[in-house]
């Protein structure tokens, strides 16, 4: 079975021609951020330019069908995640050129039916000890459990699963992507602040929808909301391109959303099958929030506070599309390593890992404060955006939800709640 390999490139956007098919096997590719030349330009203090430190970071993902969004406004992208990693390595390199450090990104794509453990072994063989994992939960756990991963630090930039932060947590994994509970808490705090505390919950049929719904139920309980009624989406999945498709939708959704009185309709449709259709079709004139409508998320194009403008701008120049949450988390993981390398002036993976988990680490990531990892489950503390379809609505934690250590710990599993035993 063929695998897609994403080739690095200079300056431009990734187009179709920038990708090529290669023979079926596990392949890796190196992307040496090319800013080494600049060393000469930047004066004598580009210390050790003759003998630069090289920091190598692996990027591991699995071949899969690209996600097809329900909306036509969003492009179908088969480079989600990796583009963020490439931008992160380029940003690292810009700082590195002043310090005599260079950064190398080793991109690996595992075939759909391939084993991630094999990829981890191969990467370990190339000296990779820092690995960005753009993987779903099971593949992530398989990668973390590989014998060669014992000495690695793995950054989970994709899987939001709560059990990865609890019962199934691993000592060698840090979670950059926010958990479902963090997202749900962020939304619940905002709805509580608006006093929209009676919800109707609509849940899709995919397993991830059920997990998202579970996080919403927990958040409702934590923040004093009541789920007046809960329904499972039972209609047939439809192709997003159907002539006069709106006629069916218009007849299905209003009666489906009829039910007990509620302030807001909360939707769990991570699979993106029907959620996009809910606004304006509901029986009662109620706002929609959750996976669609008002969305709690790590990143969105609508966010331009705290200097985010510059990150969007750099990303769009490079990728030719908007930055998605998976790109952003991959960028953060790369920058976490970059930040550690800058502060420690080291390229030793163990030293970098220790620093990242330690008290002096803080990642600037365009969220208005430095971000740190929770010591009990390895989750990155972070404000969560509440993104409307066209504008930023708010950012949680909401004012007034207090915490004795960090207000960011009001989102997701706090220390006493954690079931992670590492």
């Amino acid at each position: 079975m063929p695998i897609w390999l994403q080739t690095p490139h200079e300056n431009g956007a990734v187009g179709e021609d920038a990708r090529r098919m290669v023979k079926p096997a596990l392949h890796t590719l190196r992307f040496l951020a090319r800013l080494l030349l600049a060393g000469a330009v930047f004066g004598a203090s580009a210390a050790g330019a003759a003998d630069p430190q090289v920091i190598r970071i692996g990027y591991l993902t699995r071949e899969e069908e690209p996600r097809i969004p329900q909306t036509f406004l969003e492009p179908v992208a088969d480079d989600e995640g990796v583009q963020g990693a490439r931008l992160g390595i380029a940003d690292n390199a810009t700082t590195g050129r002043f310090l005599g450090q260079s950064f190398e990104l080793v991109e690996t794509v595992v075939p759909a039916d391939g084993r991630v453990e094999d990829a981890v072994r191969e990467l370990a063989g190339q000296g990779i000890r820092l690995l960005v994992a753009d993987l779903r939960a099971d593949a992530l756990l398989a990668a973390a459990a590989a014998p060669e991963a014992r000495d690695m630090l793995i950054f989970n930039t994709r899987a939001p699963d709560d059990d990865l932060r609890n019962e199934r947590c691993r000592a060698n994994v840090l979670h950059v992507t926010p958990s479902r509970r963090m997202l749900a808490d962020a939304l619940a705090q905002y709805l509580a602040q608006r006093r929209w505390t009676t919800w109707m919950l609509i849940v899709g049929r995919a397993p991830e929808d059920a997990a998202y719904a579970e996080a919403l139920r927990r958040a409702a309980k934590r923040y004093g909301a009541k789920i007046a009624e809960e329904k499972t989406w039972t209609f047939e999945d439809t192709n997003r391109r159907v002539d006069t498709g709106h006629v069916t939708i218009q007849s299905e959704i209003p009666p489906f959303t009829q039910g007990r009185e509620h302030d807001v309709l909360v939707v769990a449709d991570e699979a993106d099958v029907f959620g996009e259709q809910l606004p304006y079709h509901t029986w009662s004139p109620r706002p929609v929030a959750g996976t669609h409508g008002l969305v709690p998320t790590a990143w969105s194009r609508v966010h331009e506070q705290w200097g985010a403008t510059q990150l969007h701008s750099r990303f769009e120049r490079q990728a030719g599309r908007w930055m998605r949450p998976r790109d952003y988390t991959a960028w953060m993981a790369m920058r976490a390593v970059g930040e550690a390398a800058t502060r420690t002036r080291s390229n030793d993976a163990a030293a970098l890992a220790t620093f990242i988990k330690g008290p002096d680490f803080a990642l600037p990531a365009f969220k208005g404060q430095g971000l740190t990892f929770r010591e009990w489950d390895g989750q990155l503390r972070q404000p969560v955006l509440l993104a409307g379809p066209r504008t930023l609505v708010s950012v949680s934690p909401q004012p007034g939800f207090l915490h004795q250590f960090s207000e960011l710990d009001t989102l997701g599993d706090d220390r006493p709640e954690s079931r992670c035993r590492r």
Binding site: T94, T95, G307, T309, S313, P364
Partner: protein, 322 residues
């Protein structure tokens, strides 16, 4: 002549007729695309000047007859006449100008292009960009030594203060500071550069000769979360004894005794305090408060905030003319 125009002229007359001792304060409002002009005697807004989009950095020309304003979203510098209070000219700036500094000689304006990893050098006489200096990611703060020989630029994502030789326009040194450096300010004697780190929550004091961080100032405000302490604007008194640092969402300005480097007091000001300006007689300190849309006035002799003046939306930069 209409009533409005007459009233306008009368107002203008009033501005020009202010007693010599009264300050005029100019505040750039990032959100409303205006400059608020505040009368230092009455502490009220006497005029609002419409400028280009997203005005942030603001500075006087050498004889204070003009104001230069960075317009981040229009990629240019607006030139405002301080007598007529009108935009009289525009100059190129390179992409997304945020902050700049005028050389002491008054001709060259060094501009940080936040979106372009460059410092642009503008000749204000020829109104031409005469050079570009590549620096780190997201250039921001700009400081220049009193003799004009050394320029310091900070880059927010690279976390460095870049020392640039103004004769060769080359980076001669890079000093690592804490996360997201914002403002770079030379001491009046030129011996030190103070650099604020917004996310690091510190101010690094760099020896300008050895280019080493010789001291790092940290802040702690009772009842304020550590994350909310985000230093940005810096002002130093001419006698070199007192320093003031704006602490962003901590809504405080820290007053520092320079010699002992001890924090003497945290002055409560408006919300999200960005930048600071001392009056020329150093009797007052003005602050821009980005979230509460006002300017706090700190009486330096009494050591307390005496008034807040409502200005435009998201006030950012502030300068004072005698």
């Amino acid at each position: 002549m209409t009533m409005m125009a007459r009233a306008g002229l009368a107002l203008l007359g009033a501005v020009m007729a202010l007693p010599a001792s009264a300050d005029t304060i100019f505040v750039s409002n990032e959100k409303s695309n205006t400059i608020s002009v505040v009368d230092g005697d009455k502490l009220t807004v006497i005029s609002t000047i419409k400028v280009s989009r997203r005005p942030r950095g603001i500075t006087f020309n050498a004889d204070m007859t003009r104001i230069y304003v960075c317009s981040g979203d229009d990629n240019r510098i607006d030139v405002v006449d301080t007598a007529t209070l009108k935009v009289v000219d525009r100059m190129p700036s390179g992409k997304d100008p945020e902050l700049f500094v005028l050389e002491p000689a008054g001709r060259l304006l060094y501009i940080a292009n936040e979106d372009d990893n460059m410092v642009s050098v503008l000749d204000t006489s020829a109104k031409k960009i005469i050079g570009e200096i590549p620096v780190g990611v997201e250039p921001e703060g700009m400081g220049i030594s009193p003799d004009g020989k050394i320029l310091v630029n900070t880059s927010e994502t690279t976390n460095m203060a870049h020392f640039i030789d103004t004769a060769s326009h080359k980076v001669v040194d890079n000093v690592l500071v804490d996360s997201r450096p914002r403002v770079a300010q030379f001491t009046h004697d030129g011996r030190f550069v103070w650099v604020s780190s917004e996310l690091g929550g510190t101010v690094s004091v760099i020896d300008a000769a050895t280019r080493k961080v010789v001291h790092k100032i940290s802040f702690a405000v009772q009842g304020v979360a550590k994350e909310a302490i985000q230093p940005v604007g810096i002002q130093l008194t001419r006698d070199g004894k007192r320093a003031f640092v704006a602490l962003g969402p901590a809504n405080r300005v820290a007053e520092i005794d320079v010699e002992s480097r001890e924090i003497k007091k945290y002055h409560l000001v408006g919300q999200r305090v960005w930048n600071l300006a001392l009056s020329p007689d150093e009797k007052r300190l003005y602050t821009t408060n980005g979230v509460s849309n006002d300017m706090s006035v700190l009486d330096m002799e009494r050591g307390k905030v005496i008034k807040s003046v409502g200005v435009g939306g998201a006030p950012w930069g502030v300068i004072v003319k005698p």
